[in-house]
Symmetry: C2
Subunit: 301 residues, 2 copies
Amino acid sequence: MTLNTMDIKTYLTKKKDIVDKSLEKLVPPSKAFPPSVHEAIRYSLFAGGKRVRPILAIAAAEALDAGTADLLPIAGSLELIHTYSLIHDDLPAMDDDDFRRGRATCHKVYGEAIAILAGDGLLNMAFEVLSDSRRLKTIPAKRLVAIIKEISTASGVYGMVGGQVVDIESEGKEIDFPTLEYIHTHKTGAMIRASVRIGALYAKAGKKQFAALTHYGEMVGLAFQIADDILDITGSRKETGKDEGSDLKKGKQTFPSFYGLDESRRRAVEVSDRAVLALKDFGRKADPLRALAKYIVNRSS
Amino acid sequence: MTLNTMDIKTYLTKKKDIVDKSLEKLVPPSKAFPPSVHEAIRYSLFAGGKRVRPILAIAAAEALDAGTADLLPIAGSLELIHTYSLIHDDLPAMDDDDFRRGRATCHKVYGEAIAILAGDGLLNMAFEVLSDSRRLKTIPAKRLVAIIKEISTASGVYGMVGGQVVDIESEGKEIDFPTLEYIHTHKTGAMIRASVRIGALYAKAGKKQFAALTHYGEMVGLAFQIADDILDITGSRKETGKDEGSDLKKGKQTFPSFYGLDESRRRAVEVSDRAVLALKDFGRKADPLRALAKYIVNRSS
């Protein structure tokens, strides 16, 4: 039933290309605002991200048989927010990372002040894009407001920001498993879940479909995080773009530090299977979502 | 025609109280998200701000004879954004301020990481509040989307963030007057203008009324900034909550450094008069707006 590995790689390349083109339109090279922050934003936004979140939104809308041309700027706003979070996470006061995706981090190139402001600018820009009157040509205003609520909640203190707070505060401390789960579900999980739900909202999902896609999003988010924790240990810097074992070095506890590598791998597959199972009432149009769930635990970067 | 000084002070106290109560509802003391960032957010949000932006929004809506109960959360979101900007501006990598309103700044109390995340959290929260489905009980979704667009644009790279970038980059440099104007109109002006326009949008202003209130907002923003620059030189720490001449110490050029104190005072009054003139077609209901324009140049903190 699902796309094979070759197919999903082609699918991802195609969709990444479409998302990148849409992002180029949202933040074109011409400098309409101060050059330094403009450059810093483009530097981080076009640093070779996989565009997982926008692609999940697109694939969810496609699973419901919706056209996605007008979803692109909305999907792009997920990447603007993701990029803001990476820039702020990398800051010296936060995770203090010098490299990201094999390149110097934003603050290493542009300085801390511009990096903070580039992050702030990106977060604001996401909401500028979402509330642009052009969106209303194809999306009813009420649904657009629901989409904005979904994204801002996933991104804020009840979501990603909350997860990052607990992550930072747990560094070098013994934490229990529920705390690790809190960090996972909030820091990465919330935005991944929201990405899928945005696609569902856009495509006018019915109640049952929305619940199924929500469950899919939660499982994919969890699988993504377990796989990330495993990659931090097993992946080479060439593949992941960061130092091996960087979580360990920072005294961060991860899924494998609770369950070991083998059990973590087993769980990642189990969770990914559950994501696929959530789509049992969907037809062939959901194949990319199914393939994505599998790809996420098998990827090497 | 205008309220006298006594009246405007009573008006401001009353409105500040209403705004504070609304903010208490938006961010209640109970801890629904990680305690550290929750405390940091409340510490900075309830640090004795004058609530100028929310009050401008309320006064603009009142000038158009609109009830303002349902405007309060929207007006509150302006203060959430204002507070986020103060927390980030004060960071060591930015203006590096230890005191604000006579109290230690957020990062001095909670550390840099939590201060960055408190700012991020507040910015997200503004959009969570704006897109909350309860807003739609009294505001048509299309108008709410326009309000979100107005606020996000004023707050982002084309507005406040852009102004802050140029401000930071101009420190210790000779700048020309157009650059100072750019900083003023973007760093403070954009959000003050947006505050007035939000009130106008909420109250269904006609085209002409909207243009008049926009002009009022621009003049008030400018008057506010000139007055701020003057206060930085003449105000005592007791009144302003920060060290005297702190702009000068940072090598920041201000209105008085181009025009001297006397000419700056003359211009502040002139600009404030122009704000009042913009309201010539409004009746007595616009008296608080008129008084606010005068108060802003006469205040001592």
